[in-house]
Amino acid sequence: MYVLVAIGTEERHGYAIMREIARMTEGATRLGPGGIYTTIKRLLDDGLIEECDERPDPELDDQRRRYYRLTGAGRAVAAAEVRRLESLVRAARPWALEAVE
């Protein structure tokens, strides 16, 4: 889910995905190269993301970089997960925060 959200509406390569996950979790979640690419492999296998055909300009970036974007199915899965989490948060909000404050 982190990788899906980190890609979002952009086309991102592995390092950009890693940085975006660290940014949006305020450093709480830091995936390594293995964590990033085993997840990318699963998402590719499930058709939730796809590799972009275009490679970076060789003068500007390393051509080994591959960029990934969400597929329609990936966007649908992300939307469904967001709805699920929203309903969970709605159900827990009235009491969960009070319980620890």
Binding site: G35, Y37, G47, A76
Partner: protein
């Protein structure tokens, strides 16, 4: 422009051999580059020990994800994305079930000695079929490893089948050494069955605990060979060997079931939903 790997990156690239071959071939360049980005970032930030911390985190990440990738590699895919087993898989699995069943049948029903060769041939054919099925599953991940494990199994079972078949055809090409050559064929068969089982268990291919049972059962079955059961310890070797043969037969049945029912990845992708849909 593709820059050359630094010394750190070359070491990391070597460590990527811990991942399954197919995964490595697909992602190693990107992973090395990402690792290089992390190291450069650590140096840019200038924190003391930045490179060492990057290495430590990366090694931890590598140990966990390489192991999980090996474990996940042969796990059946989710049913929502899987198609029914192929006809070839079903046929190979059924052959394995039949081979194990005829071996176990000897414990339950008396078989005409003249038909014993048929039972052994079916047993060998079942083992060969399971070997082929596992090779079909494993070859995309690591063809050389798959061939190295499956080829001895197939050759040894084929050799034993030939040794069983020759007398029924009235042929005795090994003259006085026939018994010894037959013993070697049987030994090779049990040993390769065992090695095959242990490898299935080790790499987590189909039904890994059945693989372990096959490995142990086949080793025990060796104790039932003529040269062992004709000694002072026959009272011990015979029942242990029979148990081993039984476990071996049961394992082939279960492996056959796993092969025949294993769902495969479908080419079909989830239906694309347009943005905002």
């Amino acid at each position: 422009m593709i820059p050359r790997d630094s010394a750190h990156e070359r070491v990391y690239r070597g460590l990527l051999r811990l991942y399954p071959a197919a995964f490595r071939m697909r992602f190693s360049d990107e992973m090395v580059q990402l690792f290089g980005d992390l190291l450069r970032n650590a140096r840019t930030e200038g924190a003391p020990g930045g490179a060492a911390r990057t290495w430590l985190r990366t090694l931890g990440d590598l140990a966990v994800t390489a192991a999980s990738e090996h474990a996940r590699r042969d796990r059946p895919v989710a049913h929502s994305l899987a198609a029914a087993p192929s006809i070839a898989s079903r046929a190979l699995g059924l052959a394995g079930i039949l081979g194990g069943a005829v071996l176990l049948a000897a414990f339950l029903v008396e078989i005409d000695p003249d038909l014993n060769y048929l039972r052994l041939l079916l047993f060998n054919a079942g083992a060969i079929a399971i070997g082929l099925a596992v090779h079909r599953l494993q070859a995309p991940g690591s063809r050389r490893l798959s061939v190295a494990v499956v080829a001895p199994l197939i050759l040894a079972n084929a050799w034993y089948a030939v040794m069983v078949l020759l007398p029924t055809l009235g042929l005795a090409p090994f003259a006085g050494d026939g018994h010894f050559v037959g013993f070697l064929a049987g030994l090779a068969m049990w040993l390769t069955d065992s090695a095959f089982g242990f490898v299935i268990w080790r790499i987590g291919a189909i039904a890994r605990w059945v693989g372990l049972a096959l490995g142990i059962g086949s080793l025990l079955a060796i104790l039932g060979m003529d040269r062992f059961v004709q000694g002072d310890f026959a009272w011990f070797f015979s029942p242990v060997a029979l148990a081993g043969v039984g476990v071996n037969g049961l394992a082939w049945i279960l492996l056959g079931l796993a092969v025949a029912t294993r769902r495969r990845a479908s080419d079909a992708r989830p239906q694309e939903i347009p943005p905002g849909g």
